[in-house]
C-alpha cells in the first residue's frame, strides 16, 4: 500500500515534470510576444528589447526552461509579468475559493446525479426514466452561461434567496455549485443508471432479496456500493477540471477562483502565471486520480493496489 503510494507519487512527479515541459514548449511556440504585452502599445523598440533582456526571454529555450525548473524546485514560481506579484501569492489568494467551489460542485453533482441515476435505473424504461433521461441531456446540452444567468435571475433577483454573485457566505456558493453540478449531474446520472442496471441483475442482489431485506436497504447497502466504482474514477477527473476549467461560472457569479486568473493570463501570455496555474491544476488532476485509485480498493476489497 505505502509502496504503491510512494511509486504513484513518484510517477506523479514525473507527470508534472512532463506537464511543465509541454506547457513551456507551447508557450514558447505561442506567437504572441510577452514582452510586447508588458510594454504596451506606446513602447519603443528599445523598451521592448530591454524587457526581453530582463525577463531572459532572449535566452535559448533550454536555458529558459532550466531556469524555470531550478527556481520551481526552490519553491519559486516566479512573478507575474503583468501583475508583478508572486505567482504563488496570486494562486494562494484564489485557491480557497476554487477548492470550496470544487467541493461544493462535486457534492451537488453527486447528490443530483446519483439520485437521478438511481431513480432512473429502478424505474428503467418507465416514464420516470424517460423524463429523467431528457433532464440529463438538457443539463449536458445547456451552456453553463445560460444556466448560470437563469439561476441568478430566478433565485437571486426574483426570489432573493441568494446574493447576486460574490464570495463569502454559504449563500454565495449555492448557485455556482448548482450551475456546475447541473452539468455534472447529467453525466453522473447516466453513468450511475447504466452501472446500477448491471448490478441489479447480479446474484447477490437476489440473495439480498431472499433475506427479506427492504428495498431501500437493498439499494443502499448492496446495489449502490457495487455500482459506484466507475463514478469514483469520474470524481478524480472532475477534481482537476474544477480547479481551472470553470471560467464561465466563475465570471457569471463573480467567484474569485483560479479559472479567471488562468483565462486572463492565457489571453495576455503571462507566462509565469500560466505555468503556475497549469501546475496547480495538473497537480489537482494527478492527485485526484491518485485519490480515486486509492479510494477504489477501500470500496471494493477485491481490487488490490498492486
Amino acid at each position: 500500500m505505502q509502496a504503491y503510494l510512494v511509486r504513484r507519487l513518484m510517477e506523479s512527479a514525473l507527470i508534472l515534470l512532463g506537464i511543465t515541459l509541454v506547457t513551456f514548449i507551447l508557450l514558447y511556440l505561442v506567437p504572441a510576444d510577452p514582452a510586447r504585452q508588458i510594454a504596451g502599445r506606446s513602447a519603443t523598440a528599445e523598451t521592448v528589447q530591454n524587457i526581453r533582456d530582463q525577463l531572459g526571454l532572449n535566452d535559448p529555450f533550454v536555458v529558459q526552461y532550466w531556469n524555470y525548473l531550478t527556481a520551481l524546485f526552490q519553491g519559486d514560481m516566479g512573478r507575474s509579468y503583468l501583475q508583478r506579484a508572486e505567482v504563488s501569492e496570486l494562486i494562494a489568494a484564489r485557491l480557497p475559493a476554487s477548492l470550496l467551489l470544487m467541493v461544493a460542485a462535486i457534492v451537488t453533482e453527486l447528490v443530483f446525479g446519483l439520485t437521478i441515476g438511481i431513480v432512473a435505473a429502478l424505474r428503467r424504461n418507465k416514464p420516470a426514466d424517460h423524463g429523467l433521461m431528457i433532464f440529463s441531456f438538457v443539463s449536458i446540452s445547456a451552456p453553463q452561461f445560460v444556466i448560470g444567468i437563469l439561476l441568478l435571475y430566478v433565485f437571486a433577483v426574483k426570489l432573493g434567496w441568494f446574493p447576486i454573485g460574490g464570495y463569502g457566505t454559504f449563500g454565495h456558493v449555492v448557485l455556482p455549485a448548482v450551475t456546475l453540478g447541473f452539468l455534472g449531474a447529467g453525466w453522473y446520472s447516466r453513468m450511475m443508471r447504466s452501472s446500477m442496471i448491471d448490478v441489479l441483475g447480479q446474484d447477490f442482489v437476489r440473495t439480498a432479496r431472499a433475506k427479506g431485506l427492504g428495498k431501500a436497504r437493498i439499494i443502499l447497502r448492496h446495489v449502490i456500493p457495487n455500482s459506484i466504482l466507475p463514478i469514483i474514477a469520474m470524481i478524480g477527473i472532475d477534481i482537476g477540471l474544477f480547479m481551472s476549467g470553470i471560467v464561465v461560472v466563475e465570471s457569471v457569479f463573480g467567484w474569485p477562483g483560479i479559472g479567471q486568473l488562468a483565462w486572463q493570463a492565457i489571453q495576455r501570455v503571462d507566462i509565469p502565471v500560466i505555468m503556475g496555474v497549469t501546475m496547480v491544476s495538473a497537480t489537482a488532476i494527478v492527485l485526484g486520480n491518485l485519490l480515486a485509485d486509492l479510494v477504489a480498493p477501500a470500496i471494493d476489497p477485491r481490487i488490490k493496489t498492486k
Partner: protein, 572 residues
C-alpha cells in the same frame, strides 16, 4: 406447511413463452425433508425461485398454480408481504455460492443485516449473534471470518456463510438448491450433517434440490422426481429406492454409480506418455510492506510429479483448495509455474502465448465454474465453434455441422446453439463447456469437476462419451472430481492431494479399496451412499491443520511417499 399446487413457470424467449415448469404439486410438512431430484434443466431451480418470489422479472413468470405457506397464498403476495416471510418463514441457499454474496460487505455485516432487518436482535447484540451463527455452521476461526470479505473465503466457507444467513431467523422452511455441488465430499458431508442437525434442533422443513442420489438417500424423507418441467414420480425415499414406479426413475437409479461396484477398468496396453510432469510447483506471491516485497507465498502446488499416458485417465482428488485446479491451469500455461511439463514430448517451460498455441490444441481444459467460463454476450453455438475459428480448423457449414454434432454428443439439442448462456441451467452449461473443450479434438483433456452439476443419467451419458473418445482416439484425461463413485468408474489411476502435495497415489483399486493415508480414508468415508436403508456412517473427524500460506523462504515439509508395491505410494 408448504403446499404447492399446479405450479407452472414460463420464460420469455424470442419465439414466445416457453413453459419450463408444468403443473408441479407437492406438500412439505414440518420437520420433513423433501428432495427435488431430476434431470439437469428440468426446472428444479425455477421451482425454488418461484416459491421465494425471486424469479428473474420480467423474463420469467409464474403462469399458474398456487404456493401456500400455511394459509398464506404466496403467488399473489406483494413485495411487502414477501419481505415479511423471506428469511423469517422461508429461507433459501442458492446454487452458486461464489456469486451469491455481496463482495463489498464483510461476513459479519451480511449476517447482522438479516438479524436486524427482521428484528431478531438489536444492534449491540448483532455481532455476538453473527458469531453464534458461524459457530453453529462450524466454520473454522469464526471470529476472524466475521471480519473477512467473501472473496477471501473458499467455496466451502462461503456456502457455510450462506447457510448461516439462511438460518439466521429460524425459518420454517429452508430451500437448499444444490448446496454442496461445488464442494468436495468431506465438506459436503459436513454440510449435510449440519443441515440435518439444525433441522433436528429447529424442526425446519427442508426442500432440498439435488441431482445426487447419494445425497437424496441420506437426506430425504420424500422425493419428487422432475423431468422436462413435469413431475414423473413422487414417493417416500425408501419406496422410491426400493421400487421405483416410473421408467425415468428406474433409469435414474440404475445409472447411479455406487462406490465399490464399478467394473474393472479395461486392461489395455499402455500408450506412450503424453503428459509428463515432474516437480511442478505453483506459488502465488503475497506482497505487502513498505517496499512491496513478497511477504508470504501460497504454495498452491508443491513439487508434484505424474505421468499420463495416451488412453489413460488419471483422477485427481483432494480437499477444496488443495491445488487441483491450479495444476490444470499450470498445464495450460495460465499461471506461472516451476518445474517441468512436457506435452506430447514437448517441454513447455518458458513458452510465450504464440508458441503455446499449437500446444493448446493438444491439451484442453474444462473449467470448474461452468457459468463464469462462458461469455454472457455470445451465443453458446459461437462459443463452442470458437476454438475451431481460433485454430483455423474449420469453417462455413462444415463448422456448423461439427458444432451441432458436438452439441448432440453432450446431450444438448443443436437448436440450442442460438441461445445465450443465461438461458441454460447449471448442468447444461457444464455440458456446453465440455463440448467446447472437445471441439479441438485434443489429445489430453483436463476435466475440472466437469460432471458435478449433472444428474446421474446425463452424467452417465457424458462419462460414456468420454470413455468412447478414449477408446477411439486414445484421449488421455486428467480428471478432477470430488465424487469418489465417479472416479471409481473412470479412473485408471488416482492421485490424492492435500495442501498442494500428493499424499497418496496408485492404481484405482489400490487407492480406493485399500487406502493408506488417513486423509484418503476420511475422504472415502464421507461419500454419501445412495441407499436410504443404510444407517448413516460414523464420519471421521476432520483434521483442519496446515495451511498453504507460508512466509517467504519457508517451504512446506516435503512429504516422502512410501512405495507400497504395484505403484501404490502413500505418505504414511
Amino acid at each position: 406447511m408448504l403446499t404447492v399446487r399446479d405450479l407452472s413457470v414460463q420464460v420469455a424467449t424470442p419465439s414466445g413463452a416457453k413453459t419450463v415448469l408444468d403443473g408441479l404439486s407437492f406438500d412439505l410438512k414440518r420437520g420433513e425433508t423433501l428432495c427435488l431430484a431430476g434431470e439437469s434443466g428440468s426446472g428444479k431451480s425455477m421451482t425454488a425461485l418461484a416459491i421465494m418470489g425471486l424469479l428473474p422479472e420480467p423474463m420469467c413468470r409464474i403462469a399458474g398454480g398456487s404456493v401456500k405457506l400455511g394459509d398464506l397464498e404466496l403467488t399473489t403476495l406483494g413485495p411487502r408481504g414477501y419481505r415479511d416471510i423471506r428469511s423469517v418463514r422461508v429461507a433459501m441457499i442458492f446454487q452458486e455460492p461464489m456469486t451469491s454474496l455481496n463482495p463489498l460487505m464483510t461476513v459479519q455485516d451480511q449476517l447482522a443485516e438479516v438479524l436486524l432487518e427482521h428484528g431478531a436482535c438489536n444492534r449491540g447484540e448483532a455481532p455476538a449473534r453473527a458469531l453464534k451463527l458461524l459457530q453453529d455452521v462450524q466454520l473454522t476461526e469464526p471470529e476472524r471470518r466475521l471480519k473477512q470479505y467473501p472473496h477471501e473465503l473458499s467455496g466451502g466457507m462461503r456456502q457455510r456463510v450462506m447457510i448461516a444467513m439462511a438460518l439466521a431467523c429460524d425459518p420454517e422452511v429452508l430451500i437448499a438448491d444444490e448446496p454442496t455441488t461445488a464442494l468436495d465430499v468431506t465438506v459436503q458431508a459436513e454440510i449435510l450433517d449440519l443441515i440435518r442437525a439444525l433441522q433436528k434442533d429447529h424442526g425446519t422443513a427442508v426442500l432440498m434440490i439435488t441431482h445426487d442420489m447419494g445425497v437424496v438417500a441420506e437426506m430425504a424423507d420424500r422425493v419428487v422426481i422432475l423431468r422436462h418441467g413435469q413431475e414423473v414420480e413422487s414417493a417416500p425415499v425408501r419406496d422410491l429406492f426400493a421400487a421405483p414406479q416410473s421408467d425415468y426413475a428406474r433409469e435414474l437409479l440404475a445409472a447411479v454409480p455406487r462406490l465399490g461396484t464399478a467394473p474393472p477398468r479395461p486392461e489395455m496396453e499402455k500408450g506412450a506418455p503424453v503428459l509428463e510432469v515432474s516437480d511442478l510447483s505453483v506459488r502465488f506471491d503475497m506482497r505487502g510492506g513498505i517496499l512491496n516485497r513478497v511477504q508470504a507465498r501460497v504454495h498452491a502446488v508443491e513439487q508434484v510429479s505424474f505421468t499420463v499416458r495416451a488412453g489413460e485417465t488419471l483422477a485427481l482428488v483432494g480437499e477444496s483448495g488443495c491445488g487441483k485446479s491450479t495444476i490444470g491451469k499450470a498445464l495450460l500455461g495460465l499461471v506461472p509455474w516451476q518445474g517441468s511439463i512436457s506435452v506430447l514430448g514437448q517441454q513447455t517451460h518458458g513458452m510465450g502465448p504464440g508458441a503455446l498455441k499449437p500446444v493448446r490444441r493438444d491439451i484442453q481444459m474444462v473449467f470448474q465454474d461452468p457459468g463464469a467460463s462462458l461469455d454472457a454476450r455470445m451465443t453458446v453455438g459461437e462459443q463452442v465453434a470458437e476454438p475451431l475459428v481460433i485454430h483455423g480448423l474449420s469453417s462455413g457449414s462444415e463448422m456448423s455441422d461439427r458444432t451441432a454434432e458436438l452439441f448432440r454428443r453432450v446431450g444438448l439439442s443443436p437448436d440450442m446453439m442460438q441461445r445465450y448462456p443465461h438461458e441454460f441451467s447449471g448442468g447444461q452449461r457444464q455440458r456446453i463447456n465440455i463440448a467446447r473443450a472437445l471441439s479441438l479434438s485434443p489429445k489430453i483433456l483436463v476435466a475440472d469437476e466437469s460432471v458435478s452439476a449433472l444428474d446421474v443419467s446425463v452424467q452417465a451419458q457424458i462419462l460414456e462419451l468420454l470413455q468412447s473418445l478414449q477408446d477411439e482416439d486414445g484421449l488421455a484425461f486428467l480428471f478432477i472430481s470430488h465424487d469418489m463413485a465417479v472416479i471409481e468408474q473412470v479412473a485408471d489411476r488416482v492421485m490424492v492431494m492435500r495442501l498442494g502435495q500428493v499424499v497418496e497415489e496408485g492404481v484405482r483399486d489400490a487407492v480406493l479399496h485399500s487406502p493408506r493415508h488417513p486423509y484418503t480414508r476420511r475422504l472415502l468415508s464421507a461419500v454419501p451412499v445412495p441407499d436410504p436403508t443404510r444407517p448413516l456412517p460414523e464420519r471421521q473427524a476432520g483434521d483442519a491443520s496446515g495451511t498453504p500460506v507460508l512466509p517467504v523462504g519457508q517451504s512446506p515439509e516435503k512429504l516422502i511417499l512410501r512405495d507400497l508395491g504395484a505403484g501404490h505410494r502413500a505418505a504414511v
